[in-house]
């Protein structure tokens, strides 16, 4: 035991002496190596003897379906998790991260998929949070100078005194990158960096990443599901499946198809068949709808549109442009400022959420955990969320749980929800299965209007395919669908109409099959375009 303690002490001394060692490395040398990393959670082995390495100057993508173990591996590399087995080496030296602090000290920075920022604090406060040289009494102006220098170097522009909640998603990501760089990161781990960014912002980000990799030896393993981005930017790609490394190849040897096959383990169809349904009567009509955000400003601005029977209207936009407010106003969860909402000729402007469910609105929220389900309820009780008010399932105020249970069992089967049974708590389901359950619950009500917000965010390829097909099925069932998504591919492939949204207004309502992708992308960024795609 004594010997081990000495070793412990020795190790932390070694950690210290190696501080800053990464700067002396040459391009192409192996910076970080992980050997035989295994991490078990109760019931699953998230990482199974993973070998992984990063070379100086490379952009290394890590691909994998949800649950493949990408995030776990990155958290291990960042010291958030400690591996059960295996060893990490930095510049050939074994290291042992007890906490992210150890990793940060050795020059590893992380940009998380879910922003690790504090919205109530200012940009500069977020950047200096936890910085070892922040000093006991904060010297904000000195820190600002230093961060501004970094901004100049990489050509970022940011108001450092702004509160983070006021920033766009792209700016928030910038804050995270700056925070990592300010802490001296030489290896930058980015988890799903382009999710929630506009195409324009994504382009800019990819440029920055490349610039960083080239000019500064900032090393960027890059995790994503988005194959085009992987192909475009990375030098090497490691594919994980079920906690194991399936392959690690140079990107130039890979194709979209080959990567997808390795990720999923079978051939994947990327196109959902778009079926044209005969245009029916309008289901949802919205006139001059205005809605305020939580912060009190107008988030949805005099919006008017309609969706007909059997149509999917795709609202393309970067989050924060009023989609959330729009959806919540339609679902009856947010007070509207003005305007009128009609569902099949019935004025539901002032109907509450319950009445709207009963009137035939079906809403599939973006946040499956916080809004779409109740984690401590079992699957039966979760199904009841959309059925408790149904006369068929209750008598004189007493719920018929037996009947709801039968329904749940059926739905679980029909929608292929992987679960040991309907009595488990919803929180035990994976993201994809949870989404399937929600989808099953809502769509089984045969709603006339389906509002679906970010339906495939964070889902793996298989689940995404399933969800998209179900939406198309709903459309074929002559429902009208309002699809909110940030994923332009999803919008373009599913929708009949595309409405790019920018600052609470639709930039247009365009037929999906005849509008170039770039046009929509530009409109999402707020650029007014005529039909030909030229800026006006």
């Amino acid at each position: 035991m004594q010997q081990e303690q000495t070793n412990n002490g020795g190790r932390s001394r070694a950690n210290q002496t190696r501080k800053g060692m990464l700067t002396n490395l040459q391009r192409g040398e192996t910076l970080l190596e992980a050997r035989g990393i295994t991490k078990r959670f109760p019931g699953v082995t998230a990482n199974d003897a993973i070998d992984f390495s990063i070379r100086a100057g490379e952009i290394h993508a890590v691909l994998g379906e949800n649950g493949a173990g990408k995030t776990t591996l990155m958290k291990i590399l960042f010291g958030q998790y400690q591996p059960d087995e295996g060893q990490i080496f930095i510049a050939g030296q074994p290291v042992d991260f007890k906490s992210p602090l150890d990793a940060i000290e050795l020059g590893i920075g992380m940009v998380h998929q879910h922003r690790k920022l504090i919205p109530a604090h200012t940009v500069i406060e977020n950047i200096i949070l936890g910085h070892p040289n922040a000093g006991a009494v904060l010297n904000l102006s000195r820190a600002e100078d230093e961060v501004n220098r970094l901004c100049e170097k990489y050509d970022f522009s940011l108001d450092l005194r702004a509160k983070v909640w006021q920033l766009s998603e792209g700016e928030k990501q910038l804050v995270e990158i700056l925070k990592a760089l300010y802490r001296g990161a030489e290896i930058l781990i980015m988890d799903e960096p382009s999710s929630a960014l506009t195409p324009v912002e994504t382009e800019k980000l990819l440029d920055s990443i490349q610039a960083m990799a080239e000019s500064d030896l900032a090393i960027v393993p890059f995790i994503t599901h988005k194959l085009p981005i992987v192909l475009r930017i990375s030098d090497r790609v490691t594919v994980l499946r079920r906690g194991k490394v399936v392959s690690c190849i140079d990107t130039r040897d890979a194709t979209e198809k080959s990567l997808a096959k390795e990720m999923v383990g079978r051939e994947v169809l990327f196109r959902v068949e778009r079926t044209k349904i005969e245009r029916g009567a309008p289901i949802l009509e919205v006139e001059n709808l205005s809605v305020r955000s939580d912060k009190g400003f107008i988030a949805v601005d005099q919006l008017s549109f309609s969706i007909h029977e059997g149509e999917i209207l795709g609202v393309a936009g970067i989050s924060g442009n009023g989609q959330r407010e729009l959806v919540e106003a339609l679902a009856g969860l947010r007070k509207i400022e003005g305007g009128k909402i009609t569902l099949e000729g019935q004025d539901i402007t002032y109907a509450n959420a319950l009445h709207r469910w009963q009137a035939g609105v079906g809403y599939i929220p973006a946040d499956r955990i916080a809004m779409g389900s109740i984690g401590d309820f079992n699957l039966v009780e979760n199904t009841a969320m959309n059925y408790y008010f149904d006369e068929a399932f209750s008598k004189r105020g007493i719920l018929d749980f037996k009947q709801i249970r039968e329904l749940t069992t059926e739905l679980v089967e029909e929608y292929d929800v992987a679960t040991p049974g309907v009595d488990v708590k919803a929180r035990t389901l994976s993201g994809g299965n949870l989404q399937k359950l929600i989808l099953a619950r809502v769509l089984s009500r045969k709603p006339r209007l389906v509002i679906v917000d970010l339906p495939t965010q964070g889902l793996d390829v298989g689940a995404t395919e399933f969800v998209r097909n179900k939406l198309v099925e709903a459309k074929q069932g002559r429902a009208s669908v309002l699809l909110i998504s940030e994923d332009l591919d999803e919008i373009m492939s599913l929708s009949d109409w595309v409405a790019p949204i920018y600052e609470g207004r639709f930039m247009g309502k365009l037929p999906a099959d005849s509008t170039p992708r770039e046009v929509v992308g530009a409109m999402m960024a707020g650029i007014e375009l005529d039909k030909q795609g030229a800026a006006t």
């Binding site: 400690q82 504090i118 919205p119 604090h121 949070l129 936890g130 000093g135 006991a136 009494v137």
Partner: protein, 292 residues
Amino acid sequence: MQEFLIRSLDASTIFTIAALGELIGQRSGILNVGVEGVMLFGATLGFITATTTGSYMLGFLLAIAIGGLLGLLHGFFSITLGGDQVVSGMGIWILGFGLTTYIGSPFAGPLGLPRIPSVFGLSPFFFLGIALTAIVWFVLSRTNLGLRIRSVGENPVVAEVSGISVTKTRYLCVVTAGMFMGLAGAIFSLDYNPVWAYNFVMGWGFIALALVFFSMWNPIILIGGSLLFGSLWQVSLNPQLLLPDLMSRYIWRTVPFTITLVMLLLMSTRWFRTKWGATKPEALGQAYVKEG
């Protein structure tokens, strides 16, 4: 009138110090509804120590120590064990009320020590209260430690990945908070009303708790709230000095609470929140369990 003000200020001091403690804890995300219990412990043990040893200093030190210890206990329940903070706080209150009643009973009566001398006619603790408010304000808004505390209270996950130990920071805060509350209790029993009596803090801890919500987690507003409540308390006891024959003395006694209630409601309105940007620590009351 001057004496009337002095009494108001003396009472405010106790509210301020107890509430400051609670504020520090809440800023780090730990809600302690057991302020009353910690104050009772501080007051009773401080009193017993002072009256048996004859030393004020020992009394205050012990009160602060027991406050810190109870803070540690609350921390253990809510940080290490990840239990519900309201449950733990309630437990501490009930324990405080119960044990101090038993322990203190044999010591019922006046303290029997010469009074702590006043400074410019005011209790020296008034100045301590002001100083502590200034210090807490400075630490929370201007120092690295303060930034850490606020971050831990807003979003412990973010703080942790930024290399801050959520556990350590929260423990630091919750123990400091307990020390403040213990001190407030001792000021009550050694300076404000140095006579031990059964359950004698009589709800002041709960008022301190309400003041923290009232202050919107800002030490400066907090001291304003304490002064307001201290004055209202005195007015309600002595309505004849300001507004004679207005209403029954019993109804007067409800006034401080009614006004607090009205102010709280006002602060809850959208108008007030958008105008003043009231910021509740986002992670308040939530246990943080480190992953992995």
